[in-house]
């Protein structure tokens, strides 16, 4: 008989979960040069990343965070905060969820969604830094936009569903499960649905 003990997660993830690094203590973010927040509590995941920047070298000198979420969410923000220290803003901006997952020793498939908010929050913090420092020209928009935070459905997913035949909000929900949890994404989803129907089918 096998013994219990093995987690569904890697040892690295477990370590970051047990001893998370760089948690922002208290609520004051005034000492930081950039603040980014993504997700919301209704969907079960929210992350805030704050950074300090060496302005001469454009590198991140400190990164702290807060996370509302499951073990993968906590561990992935923790590991991310370690990864970015010393990186240039540009390099940090391009950290992908995949790199974070790799650094964690892998994530179960159904947990990938829990880790994507960390790097998004980081990018938001970097953009926030640029904005605050008169470098709006460097602010980069997200290429894909998560519309439904609960189910992690992007505008691309909605476009795909429309191309595959979804014509009503209900059909879209059946295909993507978009909007099936807290429902706050309904309005935005319906706008996108109409937009993609119009673009692809002239409807």
């Amino acid at each position: 008989m096998l013994q219990a003990g093995e987690w569904a997660y890697s040892e690295t993830l477990k370590e970051h979960f047990m001893n998370p690094k760089n948690i922002l203590q208290g609520e004051n973010t005034d000492d930081f040069d950039g603040v980014g927040m993504e997700g919301n509590l209704q969907c079960g995941d929210q992350m805030m990343v704050v950074i300090k920047v060496d302005k001469a070298k454009d590198t991140i000198t400190d990164c702290q965070w807060k996370t509302y979420g499951c073990a993968s969410a906590i561990a992935s923000t923790s590991v991310l905060s370690e990864m970015v220290k010393g990186r240039t803003l540009d390099a940090a901006f391009h950290i992908s969820p995949k790199e974070v997952a790799q650094e964690l020793g892998g994530l179960p498939d159904h947990k990938i969604h829990c880790s994507v908010l960390g790097d998004k929050a980081l990018r938001a913090a970097i953009n926030n830094y640029y904005t605050r420092n008169g470098q709006e020209d460097k602010v980069k928009q997200e290429l894909v936009k998560v519309v439904c935070q609960c189910m992690n459905i992007t505008d691309h997913d909605i476009e795909d569903a429309v191309l595959e035949g979804a014509r009503t909000y209900f059909e879209l929900q059946e295909r993507t499960k978009c909007g099936t949890v807290c429902g706050q994404c309904k309005e935005e989803t319906e706008v996108l649905l109409e937009k993609f129907k119009h673009i692809h089918f002239g409807a």
Binding site: G36, K66, H110
Partner: protein, 397 residues
Amino acid sequence: MKVYFDHNATTPLHPEVKKEMIAGMEMFGNPSSMHAYGREARANVEHARAQVANFIGAKENEIIFVGSGSEANNTVLSLFVCSSSQCIPGSRRSTIITTKIEHPCVLETAECLAHRGVKVKYLAVDRYGKIDLDQLASLLNDNVGLVSVMMANNEIGTLQDIETITKMVHESGAYMHTDAVQAVGKVPVDVRELGVDFLTISAHKIYGPKGVGALFVKQGIPYCPLIRGGHQERGRRAGTENTLGILGMARAVEMRMVEMPEEEERLHTLKQVLQKGIEERIDDISINGHPTDSLASTLNVSFTGVEGEAILLYLDLEGIAVSTGSACASGSLDPSHVLLATGVDAELAHGSIRFSMGRETTLQEVEYLLDVLPRVIKQIRNMSTAYIKGGLHATSR
């Protein structure tokens, strides 16, 4: 310290059950065989049937042994897609009514039936998880063939008034099923008092083995097997009997008869200690489920600003086993359908924990939990975005 607060998920074998099953391992005959080996097994299966029947006030020929509570529930609902005149709908009564808070084995079966032409209606529940009897009355009509309402809810412990519901259902000419998996062995269950036509039991929730359950089918009620191809269980459930499991289930039921009466009182006290302790030591919490009509063993609590899986795993590191309603831990992303049905908002539903106690839970264990839990919640809240200025529900978009 290692403590188990997840008895609604499953229970350890009762020592008496273990003994019975170890002794029973020598018995390998097929109950269908006519020789001595077979007769020994048959005698034991029939003895077990009598014990299970006795426990819920049924007749022996009304008990069908099945492979799980899930199978029993699937069997009852699936009577509705059979078009034979022997089966329930008789083509006319083709609507099923159930509730929004059933176990997934009912909800997903109902969903599947809906794809196959059965009309399914779902009863809403109030903030305590009680179904609305007026809504039931308004939905009952000549088209309704079956109503399926769980007796005790596995997540929040709320008990329904099955007796009253059954009367209403019978007056409208429909049949009544109750999933009593979480009720049998915890509160008194008598099928005659309840009046139900079908009732589901599972052994592993009451200190019996996993993979065995029983379906009560009232004598004379139309029936059609889900598993076909054998004469076992009088043609009602094919497959060579799980003799060892059945033996264990019967012993589990026997022990429940002895232990249940005094246990409820004890668990009730423990639940009060636990609830009071949590309320006193932790801010921003809310209790889910019915304040009185509820299982004495089950306490479901929502913690603001923390996600359930994180609580579960930090408690696990301290040797405490609990369960989340929010299913992130179990592989899907949805918060508990039960809590959402009771009107708990999605955020709180994500931060909900079910503590379920059992026959060997002690006051000492509850106190240990009360020592650890406030620290864990504080630690998670300290890293949560929910408690920063303007953090609640904020997004940067």
